[in-house]
Structures are given as structure tokens and as C-alpha cells.
């Protein structure tokens, strides 16, 4: 069989990305939705690393560093927020966040 090329990586990344997005759309639990978001970011990371490997350029990996850090910050903020919501509403079901509408 032929060797693994950039396009294979990109396809995998696209699949991962869509999985993450699907998770955000389908899952009811805020924390699981959050995992979906992380999955999306990591799909992008994988793509970046793959690109900079195949194009022999380091820029992609540099951006990956930033993405990882930003993701960590997002996680910190997001989890804190979710904990606050959980304390207030006693549930992490996203369907309960429906007071602001129309």
C-alpha cells in the first residue's frame, strides 16, 4: 500500500473535527460538550503538525504551542464557569440554560 501522505492526515483531522462538532451539537451535558470543543481544537493541532512536518516548516508547530496554551486557559475558565452554573442550577444540562431567548 502507498505511504501515508498529508491528505490522509487532513482527512483524519476533518473527521475528528466533525466528531467534535457533532459532540457539541448532540451531547446534553455541558462538560461533554466541552470535550467536543477540545476535540475540535486538537484536530486542528494534528493538522498543523502534519502540515509543518510535510512542508518542512516550523510555523505550524509554533501555532500549535499557542493553541495548546489557549485551550488550557479556555478549559480553566470554562470549567470554573460550569462549576458555578452547576452550583446555581444543580444541573449541567445545557437545556436548562434557556432563560434568555427571543
Amino acid at each position: 500500500m502507498k505511504s501515508v501522505g498529508l491528505e490522509h492526515y487532513l482527512i483524519v483531522c476533518a473527521l475528528l473535527f466533525c466528531l467534535g462538532l457533532l459532540g457539541v451539537i448532540i451531547q446534553r451535558n455541558l462538560i461533554v460538550m466541552y470535550m467536543g470543543l477540545e476535540l475540535m481544537l486538537n484536530a486542528a493541532n494534528l493538522a498543523l503538525v502534519a502540515c509543518s512536518h510535510f512542508l518542512n516548516k516550523l510555523d505550524g508547530q509554533i501555532l500549535v504551542f499557542f493553541v495548546i496554551t489557549v485551550a488550557a486557559a479556555e478549559v480553566a475558565v470554562g470549567l470554573a464557569l460550569i462549576v458555578a452554573i452547576c452550583r446555581r442550577k444543580q444541573s449541567t444540562d445545557v437545556a436548562d440554560l434557556n432563560s434568555l431567548k427571543l
Binding site: I25, I26, R28, V94, L97, N98, K101, L102
Partner: protein, 606 residues
């Protein structure tokens, strides 16, 4: 001259600001400031006119007010015969009405707000008159709309007043939308929006507007249709009568509604023959439609409102027939006598404690003699009876129609008949017939602060035809050849006679509208004038009543319903539907975002 004009322009604004900021508490001071500002503006206008005598002043003042790339707007004033005379009319009539208001609104709770609005209106109106380019005019155009909105809604506690105000503004916006488009097209085609340079270009090359000439003209005309309440956007004017009567006199009879006609004359050179014919027919249609409607009204102010509509139709028709000078002349005289009519009506309403139904009035001839005589003078002027000013202008219009467009001449003559009919119906029922209600029998003359303006305007109404206003307008706007004067005069006077006789036979001593309750009360004297009576009764029932009802129905359901309501309704409906997208559920949002992105991908990438 220009600095003087600017002072005249900004005096009312200053007074409006002063009232709004400082003297909101003290009614009389506010009134004093406002009246003073308007009088000052009047004096300055008189001064300017005295200096220039209709000669066009050099446009000294035009700083580069706004320049965006090749788009230059300068803020300056135009001082030719047109604007000078218009200045005099606006400030003169305006001052009279300011003074009158001080008496009429004395008991009102928020006199200061009223006078602030009045001053704001004066400022905007003068701005329109003095504008020397489209943008300037459009800005003041909008300001006039706003101040009219404020004044119509003065008694906002009444939901009807607030709704009328909103309706007026919205309807005007529909016209202004076209107006704005027209301005943009003019600029796109000619590269300038200054009236003077537009005139030069059009003189040099009448086809400068190219293929879109007619369309552009009609878009510009849309502004006039909205502001001057022409068919099919005339629906707002009768409702605007919800405002205080002096406001109706100033804004919705004398000045603002005439702004559309003024604008047409200002840029008359822009209009192609096709556009002009459309304008003429719309004017004629409005005139006859409104006259028919007036016949069936019982509210004194509504009768006057519909008559205003039909007179505006006259003016627009005159413009369309290529006689801007004639139109402006009629505008001027109409400003005099229609303001006088409204102020008289206001004095009656004031005396009868805000009773507006003419069938509850009567016997006022003796009790309110000043009001009655001035009202009568104005009525005669409106019906075009010599030697009152209305006669001259109306006669010119009829002659113009006779000279250029026979069908329109016939329509104009019929309108003349109807005008006389409903005006004398009003006069007879409200003034001459015996009193039919308690307040009417105990009515007495209004205070002199209200009657003096009446007299002043009456003098103008009488003199208006002789002081050579028409000559000045012809100087400014060029003379257009008229048809046979004697025929026109005969038609006018004949129309007056028919209408007068009809009204008299039907309404003398009538206690109710004889069209409906004709039998019984009228039966015993029917025998004497049997022939006329039958004739007119048949005429009235089978033509006027029918036509009026049809026109009224059309007006109420097709125009107001489909036109104005429809548009706003569609917008609101769309908003209500789109709003449902905001379900408040994050995952719905995420799903929609994902779908939209996928859609964009499918449309543009794959």
C-alpha cells in the same frame, strides 16, 4: 443678504433650544420667546424682500460644508424671488398663527413643549425654503417631518393622536425613500446636487439625465407625494387633524404640505414631459377624490382637511401642466385663506368647548361675528369669487388646464363645483342655521388675541390678488401661456353658482344631513323648490354619495390598508418570524452555525 437670511433661519432654532433647555417651566415666557423669534424672522424676511425686490441675491455664503471624495455639499442659502416670497408667506402666516396659538393653547398643560415644537417647525420649514442643494433640503425635509410628528402627537394621551402622528411619519418616510433614491440618481447622473448648477446643466442639455430622466423625476416627485399628501399617500393628512388646530392651520394647511409643491417648482427643470403628465394626472385625481370625500364629512376640521387635499391637488396639477408660477401663486393665496379657515374653525371649536361636529353647531353668525365674517371671506376666496385672492389663482389654474389638457379642465371645474358645495354646506350649517346644541347657543366670540390674527389674514386674503404676487412668480419661474381667460372665468363662476345653489337648497335650516334624513323636516318647503330639490337630491344620492362612499372605501381599504399598513405589516411579520430563530438553546445555535458553514462550503468550495 445671506447672513440676514441665516439669522432668520436660526432665530426659531435658538428659541426652540432656549425653550427646551431653560423655560420649560414657564409657559408664558416660552410663548413670548417663540412668538418673538417668529416675528423677528418675519421682519428680516420683509427687510430682505424690501432690499431685493425679487432680484436673485449673489450666493455669497457657501463654505465647503461636507465633501466626500468628489461629492461636495455646501451649506448656503438661495435668495431668489421664489424663496423670498416663500419666506414672507411662511413667516407671515406663521407669526399670525403663533400669536393665535397663545390664545388657543392657553389652557393646555404643556404650552412650552408646544411652542418649542412650533419653533422647531419654523426652523425646518425656513431651511427647506432657503436650501440651495438637495442634501440640505432633504435634511430639513426630515426635520419638518419630525417636528410635524411631535406637534400632531402633542396630545399624546389620546391614542388616536399618537397613532396619527406615527402614521403621518411612516407615510412620509415611504415618500422620502423614493425622494432619497431620486436625489442619489440625480447626483449619479449630473454629478452635482446644487439647484443652481443642476439648472445650468439642464439648460445646456435638456437630456442630461439620459434614459432614466422620467424615472428620476418621478422618484423626486415621490417626496412631494408624501409631503404634500397626494394620492396615493394622502391618507395621513385627515388623521393629522388630531393635532391642535393652530398646528393644522400652520403645518397641514398653509406651509408644510405646500413644501412638496415648492420643491417641485424649485427643480421644475428636471422633469421630462412624461413625468409632468403623470404629475398632472395625479394632482387632478387627488383634487377630485378629496373633494368628493369632503362632501360626506361632518367634522369641521376634516372638511377643511379634505379641501386642503383637493387644493394641493390643484397646485400639483398646475405644476404638471407646466405652470409652476401658477402653482406657487395658488400656494400663496391658499396659504392665506386656508390658514384663515382653520383659525376660524379653531375659534369656533374653542368657543364650543372642543365640539367639532358641524351638526351640533349653528347660529354662530350673530354670536361670533368676527369669526363668521372672516370665515366667510376665506370661504369665498376658496370658492374663487372675485375680488378675493383665491379667484385670481384658481382662475389661472383653470385657464392653464383649459390651455393644455381638456379632460383635466373638466375635472378641475367639477372640483370647483364640489368645493363651493361643501364649503357652503359647512358655512350654512355651522354659522347661519339656528343653534342645534347647548354649547352652540351659549357660544361667544373668542378673545382678541385670537381674532386679531383672523383679521390680519382676512386682509391678506382680500389683498392677495392685487399686490402683484403672480407677476413676481412669473419673473422667478417664467410665464406659461394660458388658455382663454373668459371661458375659464365663466367656468369658475358657473361652478360657484351651481355649488352655492345646491348647498343652499339642501342645507338652509337643515337640522341633519338632508342627504340621509331628507324627508319629514324638509317636506313642507320641498313643494316650492321641488324641481331643484329632486334634481339635486337625485344628483347627490346617486352620484355624490355613491362616488364619495366608493372613494372613501377605496381610500380606507385599498390605499391605507394595502399600501401603508401592508408594508409595515410585512416588515413586522418578517421580524416576528426571524425572531423565532432565537430559541435560546445553545445547541440549536451551534447546529445552525454548522449547517450555515456547510452550506457555504457546498455553495462556494465544492
Amino acid at each position: 443678504m445671506a447672513p440676514l437670511a441665516l439669522i432668520a433661519l436660526f432665530l426659531p432654532l435658538a428659541s426652540a433650544v432656549a425653550i427646551a433647555l431653560f423655560t420649560r417651566r414657564n409657559a408664558s415666557v416660552s410663548a413670548g420667546i417663540s412668538i418673538g423669534a417668529s416675528l423677528g424672522a418675519f421682519l428680516i424676511s420683509a427687510l430682505i424682500f424690501n432690499q431685493l425686490r425679487g432680484a436673485t441675491a449673489p450666493e455669497t455664503l457657501n463654505p465647503n460644508w461636507l465633501s466626500i471624495g468628489d461629492f461636495k455639499v455646501d451649506f448656503g442659502v438661495t435668495l431668489d424671488a421664489l424663496s423670498q416670497l416663500m419666506l414672507l408667506v411662511v413667516t407671515g402666516v406663521g407669526s399670525a398663527i403663533h400669536i393665535y396659538s397663545w390664545g388657543y393653547m392657553r389652557a393646555d398643560r404643556s404650552v412650552s413643549r408646544y411652542f418649542a415644537g412650533l419653533s422647531l417647525f419654523m426652523f425646518s420649514m425656513l431651511g427647506i425654503v432657503l436650501a440651495r442643494n438637495f442634501v440640505q433640503m432633504f435634511i430639513f425635509w426630515e426635520l419638518v417631518g419630525v417636528s410635524s410628528y411631535l406637534l400632531i402627537g402633542h396630545w399624546y394621551e389620546r391614542a388616536s393622536a399618537a397613532d396619527a402622528a406615527k402614521k403621518a411619519f411612516i407615510t412620509n418616510r415611504i415618500g422620502d425613500f423614493g425622494f432619497l433614491l431620486g436625489i442619489l440618481m440625480v447626483w449619479a447622473a449630473l454629478g452635482t446636487i446644487n439647484f443652481s448648477s443642476i439648472a445650468d446643466i439642464m439648460k445646456a442639455n435638456p437630456l442630461a439625465l439620459g434614459a432614466l430622466g422620467t424615472g428620476t423625476g418621478l422618484l423626486i416627485f415621490c417626496g412631494c407625494v408624501g409631503k404634500s399628501a397626494q394620492f396615493p399617500l394622502h391618507v395621513w393628512l385627515p388623521d393629522a387633524m388630531e393635532g391642535p388646530t393652530p398646528v393644522s392651520a400652520l403645518i397641514h394647511a398653509a406651509t408644510m404640505v405646500a413644501a412638496g409643491v415648492y420643491m417641485l417648482c424649485r427643480v421644475f427643470i428636471l422633469f421630462t414631459p412624461e413625468a409632468l403628465s403623470v404629475i398632472a394626472w395625479i394632482g387632478g385625481g387627488t383634487a377630485i377624490l378629496a373633494a368628493l370625500m369632503a362632501v360626506q364629512q361632518n367634522d369641521i376640521k376634516r372638511i377643511l382637511a379634505y379641501s386642503t387635499l383637493s387644493q394641493l391637488g390643484y397646485m400639483v396639477m398646475a405644476v404638471g401642466l407646466g405652470g409652476p408660477a401658477t402653482a406657487m401663486f395658488h400656494l400663496t393665496t391658499h396659504a392665506f385663506f386656508k390658514a384663515l379657515l382653520f383659525l376660524g374653525a379653531g375659534s369656533v371649536i374653542y368657543a364650543l368647548h372642543h365640539e367639532q361636529d358641524i351638526w351640533k353647531m349653528g347660529g354662530l353668525k350673530s354670536k361670533m361675528s368676527v369669526t363668521f365674517w372672516t370665515f366667510l371671506i376665506a370661504t369665498l376666496a376658496l370658492c374663487g369669487v372675485p375680488p378675493f385672492s383665491g379667484f385670481f389663482s384658481k382662475d389661472e389654474i383653470l385657464a392653464l388646464a383649459l390651455g393644455h389638457n381638456m379632460p383635466l379642465f373638466v375635472i378641475a371645474s367639477i372640483v370647483a363645483v364640489l368645493t363651493t358645495f361643501y364649503m357652503f354646506r359647512l358655512v350654512i350649517v355651522a354659522f347661519i342655521n339656528p343653534a342645534k346644541s347647548d354649547p352652540a347657543s351659549h357660544a361667544h366670540e373668542s378673545p382678541s388675541v385670537m381674532t386679531l390674527p383672523l383679521v390680519f389674514l382676512a386682509v391678506l386674503t382680500i389683498a392677495g390678488g392685487f399686490i402683484g404676487i403672480d407677476k413676481l412668480y412669473e419673473v422667478a419661474l417664467g410665464k406659461t401661456e394660458l388658455g382663454n381667460h373668459t371661458v375659464a372665468m365663466a367656468a369658475g363662476l358657473g361652478a360657484f353658482a351651481i355649488g352655492l345653489i345646491a348647498a343652499w337648497t339642501l342645507y338652509a335650516n337643515a337640522t341633519a344631513d338632508s342627504l340621509t334624513t331628507r324627508l319629514g323636516a324638509m317636506a313642507h318647503w320641498m313643494r316650492d323648490r321641488f324641481y331643484f330639490d329632486e334634481c339635486y337630491e337625485w344628483l347627490n344620492r346617486w352620484t355624490q354619495e355613491l362616488l364619495a362612499t366608493v372613494a372613501d372605501w377605496f381610500d380606507r381599504w385599498i390605499i391605507a390598508g394595502a399600501g401603508v399598513k401592508g408594508l409595515s405589516l410585512a416588515a413586522e411579520l418578517g421580524g416576528g418570524l426571524l425572531r423565532l430563530m432565537q430559541t435560546g438553546n445553545v445547541q440549536t445555535y451551534a447546529l445552525l452555525i454548522a449547517l450555515a458553514t456547510a452550506l457555504l462550503f457546498w455553495r462556494y468550495i465544492l
